[in-house]
């Protein structure tokens, strides 16, 4: 019963986050100095051409009417028509670009979590001996290196110079390109996961059930992977969830770097061409995508760790 109530609270909170995000976009566009219609057509545009555009964007109605219409559009997924590609709805442009970004982010989460957990288990277990310390140092160093400062360099070295990986922006690059882009995005995440999982494993290491497992004669691998790891799943899932926002920002940077189609590219393209309906829809979609991922993380946490469900 409590699990259901928590879930309902989470979903309500998620809806609230999306509505707040959407409202910020809506009001920023209308209340900050500068006429959105002039933003689209430029300063030299005359009244005769501005009036139809204002009408099309609904800017001639009073603000509360515009807001009501916007909220209705939000819930019916109808946020108007693209200004630059007439005949295409903003929602359909968003729908076709969310797939590539979702693939990129999902693969990055999978790779990052796997990398981090492997590094943490190696760092906690007895296999590496004195060299264990290097894992901690590497994780700290990688966590302090911003994606922005290594992704372009690695791309230059591996894709442009050595040509060992395909450029992810190339439509023919296929899975190899996706894998390369996701791996770049996964590296900072992996470092964070490694640090948190290591701390969680050290915490578990002192508990009695691990002593029992060792006393039964379980191998080190069995002790750490079968007994200790599931008990540390909570912090691991939580750190992944807390990094999702940064991951989304990283995805925008990488899409720009590789000129790869996706939600980030759509946001930047509609920003530079002043395609306001698409821009609004894309930002709202990105917000919704983010909270959906957060809820998925909360559900995964509850599925792995029975203590959360109680």
């Amino acid at each position: 019963m409590r699990a259901v109530r928590t879930l309902v609270a989470r979903v309500l909170e998620a809806v609230l986050v999306v509505v707040v995000m959407a409202s910020i976009v809506f009001f920023a566009m209308r209340l900050l100095p500068g006429d959105p219609a002039r933003l689209v057509l430029g300063d030299e545009a005359d009244e005769a051409s501005l009036a139809p555009l204002r009408h099309k964007l609904g800017l001639d109605a009073p603000l509360y009417m515009q807001y009501a219409r916007f909220l209705k559009g939000l819930f019916t997924l109808d946020l108007g028509e693209s200004l630059r590609h007439p005949g295409e709805s903003a929602a359909s442009r968003v729908a076709e670009s969310i797939g590539p970004t979702a693939q990129l982010a999902a693969l990055a989460v999978a790779i990052g979590a796997a990398l981090g957990v492997v590094a943490a288990v190696l760092g906690a277990g007895p296999w590496l001996g004195e060299r264990k310390r290097w894992i901690d140092r590497a994780a700290t160093a990688v966590a302090a290196t911003p994606l922005l400062s290594f992704a372009p360099l690695v791309t230059f070295a591996l894709a442009a110079r050595l040509r060992v990986v395909p450029l992810p922006g190339d439509p023919d690059s296929g899975f190899g390109g996706l894998l390369f882009a996701s791996s770049l995005l996964a590296i900072p995440l992996g470092a964070q996961v490694a640090r948190v999982s290591r701390a969680a494993l050290d915490e578990v290491a002192r508990s009695q059930f691990l002593t029992v497992a060792r006393a039964k004669g379980a191998t080190a691998a069995r002790t750490w992977i079968v007994h200790a790891l599931p008990a540390s799943a909570g912090p691991i899932v939580t750190v992944v969830a807390s990094q999702l926002g940064a991951l989304l920002g990283g995805a925008v940077v990488l899409e720009r770097l590789f000129e790869r189609p996706g939600l980030g590219s759509l946001i930047l393209e509609s920003y530079s061409t002043r395609d306001l309906p698409v821009l609004e829809a894309a930002i709202v979609a990105a917000g919704a995508f983010f909270v959906a991922a957060q809820i998925a993380a909360a559900l995964a946490h509850a599925a792995i760790d029975p203590r959360v469900r109680r």
Partner: protein
């Protein structure tokens, strides 16, 4: 103690070198079309970028302006967040729960997305716009840390003693609680400043940076664009982002473990 002070060395050195180069070099807007994408040489240590801008002029200016922005935002975030969190902790009850939850929400918010959302309404953002956008989320980690720290302190004997002696809420907060939560908050100051350097660079990399174009992100953007022609631009931009963010991160840790 000496080791902690050593942690201020990288950022001081970086700023001093940047200031020296910024004073000695050309105006960062100065263009020299004949030197477009010229490689580093004795005359220009870092080489030239797009349309012949001198990187030895642009990078120091960008580092100084970016660091100034980062420090201002981090300090304001600190000045808002630290008292808010500590006050919420000593007043307990509903306010405490509200601030706690608000921090959770804001901290997990995709701040880069929020920046895109707000900046998209501005035709060409300047650094004040950027600072306002960063401040929307920058206060939260400070409030969260100060809340957790003050929760421990509020049960401490010296706080109870002050309250029993009839000290006002404000006095307890200012002279007993806040001074004792400063250590971890100073570390956060460095982490926030470092994150803002990276965010500012990321925003200008994707084309939403400050309108003067003097930013490490636009150097990176030029570098990506001219990757095959002039790789030095990309290397200079990446290394500059890395050094600036890392030296701020290390500087924050100078106050680590400082207790009064």
């Amino acid at each position: 103690m000496r080791r902690r002070i050593l942690r201020l060395v990288p950022v001081t050195a970086l700023l001093a070198i940047s200031a020296a180069f910024a004073l000695a070099s050309n105006n960062p807007d100065h263009l020299d079309l004949t030197a477009s994408f010229a490689a580093p040489s004795a005359g220009s240590l870092l080489g030239h970028g797009e349309a012949g801008v001198d990187l030895a002029a642009v990078v120091p200016h960008a580092v100084l302006r970016g660091t100034a922005l980062a420090i201002v935002v981090a300090v304001i975030g600190f000045a808002v967040g630290a008292p808010l969190g500590a006050f919420a902790a000593i007043s307990r009850g509903r306010l405490e729960r509200f601030v706690d939850r608000a921090c959770d929400l804001v901290q997990s918010f995709p701040s880069f997305l929020l920046a895109l959302a707000v900046l998209s309404a501005v035709r060409s953002p300047n650094r004040i716009h950027l600072a306002c956008v960063f401040l929307l989320t920058a206060w939260a980690p400070f409030a969260r840390l100060s809340l957790t720290q003050a929760r421990v302190l509020r049960g401490a004997a010296f706080v109870e003693a002050a309250q029993a002696l009839g000290a006002t809420q404000a006095r307890v907060l200012l002279s007993h609680v806040l001074p004792n939560v400063m250590g971890p908050l100073a570390v956060q100051l460095g982490a926030t400043a470092s994150a803002i350097i990276v965010s500012e660079a990321a925003l200008s990399f994707v084309g939403l940076g400050p309108r003067d174009g003097v930013s490490l992100g636009s150097v990176l953007d030029q570098g990506v664009y001219s990757m095959l022609l002039a790789p030095h631009v990309l290397v200079v931009g990446s290394v500059a982002v890395f050094i600036t963010s890392l030296s701020l991160l290390i500087a924050g840790r100078a106050a680590e473990g400082e207790r009064r």
